[in-house]
Amino acid sequence: MTSREKVRLALDHKPGPVPVDFGSTPVTGIHVSCVAALREHFGLDRHPVRVWEPFQMLGEIEDDLSIALGADCTGVAGRGTLFGFPREGWREWRAPWGQVMLVPEGFRPRAEPAGGLHLFPQGDGAARPSGHMPAGGYFFDAIIRQEPIDEDRLDPADNCEEFTPLSADDIGHWRRVLAGARGNGRAIVGGMGGTAFGDIALIPAVGLRNPRGIRDVSEWYVSLVERRPYVHRVFSRQCEVALKNLEVFRDLAGDAIDVLVVCGTDFGTQASQFCSPETFDDLFAPYYRIINEWVHRNTSWKTFKHSCGAVRPLIGRFIDVGFDILNPVQCSATDMDPVRLKRDFGDRLVFWGGGVDTQHTLPFGTPAEVRTQVTERLRAFSPGGGFVFNTIHNIQAMTPVANIVAMVQAVRDFNGAGA
């Protein structure tokens, strides 16, 4: 059975070996420091790792590491990074923690007075910095660049500047990456971009030189209550562009893609939700439904929804608006018990994640504790299919490699035991 067949079985809720994802999306990846440590552990060719996602500093998982980790998925991503510069022109760069890695040409950080680093939209050092890695940090965070808000002049187009039709360069890029991804036997997970409605990680628009509209995180949350008609107009406009791009993308990708990453908007906090079910129904559901219905009507792709946190009260709604897959299944959040999630939603929703806790067990536990938790999660989520193993969100910087290896071995042993 090929990796792709394993994934398709799981996505179709049919029993079989548990497929595994490491690194196919920006929310199922591994920090570049851990990727380097894993390469060394497995005795793979020693060379600087590429940072394919510079915001969270995720490392590229090349074919040899994919095989070592037992990964069954390959990710295909758009041409540009979150910072708006393309993934090309790779050169060496030494990170503050001493690791030498490969970064795109547009990745030109500059030291800031407090000892951290600033990164610039589209690699333009003349623009205001849009990313900040504090001293001692391992990731970038968005710098909020909010112009004064004139309520009478708010224009939805300002909040849609980043949502544009796929360009000739984009299309050329997609042709290349899709051709490269075919034939390795793994399932292909694609993120076209532009289909995430109100993703708070994207609202500050770190890729734009001068973002306009509502770009401050708190202002955006306030807007869900106080500027709801405006947010509707933003989503509506974004949705129009996304549907046109989906047609182009469908013609490019066809059946090569197995999973479309639709949206990373977080609806859960550690203990609750970011919005009420009524807000979800009114503000988000109509647009998700349009996207998911289009995908299901026109392709064989499954749709992937990422949302951290305690989202149990919204899971039924995610299913109703047409999502096939939920990630990262944050079992450490309130009311996210794996057994109950599987019992209540497992026949209608694929759980992609939930494999091990990256807040506590994986970074701070022992290999034995990792193994125990991974095995418990596999037992809870895998019966009858509908489960793709992944950590709960990206593996964070400086996670002990022995713990990651214990996790990989636990999955291998579980599958080897014929579960």
């Binding site: 407090a114 951290g116 900040h132 504090p134 001293a135 001692g136 940090g137 391992y138 990731f139 965070d141 995180v217 708190s218 949350y221 306030v222 869900l224 209550v225 106080e226 906090t269 550690q270 203990a271 609750s272 939700q273 970011f274 919005c275 009420s276 807000t279 009260p313 990256t358 807040q359 506590h360 970074p363 701070f364 964070q396 910087a397 400086m398």
Partner: protein, 212 residues
Amino acid sequence: MPLLSDLTAAVAAGKRTDTVRLTQELLAAGTSPQDVVEKGLVPGMAIVGDRFKRNEIFVPEMLVAARAMKEALKLLEPLLAAAGIKPKYTAIIGTVQGDLHDIGKNLISMMWRGANFAVIDLGTNVTAEKYLAAAKEHKANIVGLSALLTTTMPSMKETVRILKSSGLDGLKVVIGGAPITQEFANDIGADGYAADAGSAVDLAKRLVGEAA
């Protein structure tokens, strides 16, 4: 003349315009600024905290209510200062060194203000030395530390150690953030942990000896 309970209801519902208007009307009718705060706004924000804890309202509604309170306080603070009236308790808050996340920290800052604490918000990426200096300068009762990242939890541990060994009399150190647990708080010697902004008010009041 409007009632203080009208103001309480307006701020709890996040009605900014009504909150400001009612504050002005109550002051004009002779209600003391202290009563407007303590009997009008503070009970309103307590309702917000309770509803948040019960998942009846969520982050956007809490932010909107806090903004309404903030607008009213703009009118009230000069009057309170002129009368020499200060909140009884002072809290310092910030996100620990190496961490730039502030949504949760900002919510707690607002809710502590809403419970009539003086709040000094040090922002994000705050060193242990800055927390300590601010605690000394403002004679703080409580210091609140926030962290979102697993990689900054060691920084939180070190900050708690420095604050708790500073010898500042009666200073309580409380922590919170997505990866933080009561167990971690116990391990690193913090005086308390709160899972959400509503609970953080209860915790702060309990630690300063007020009934939560």
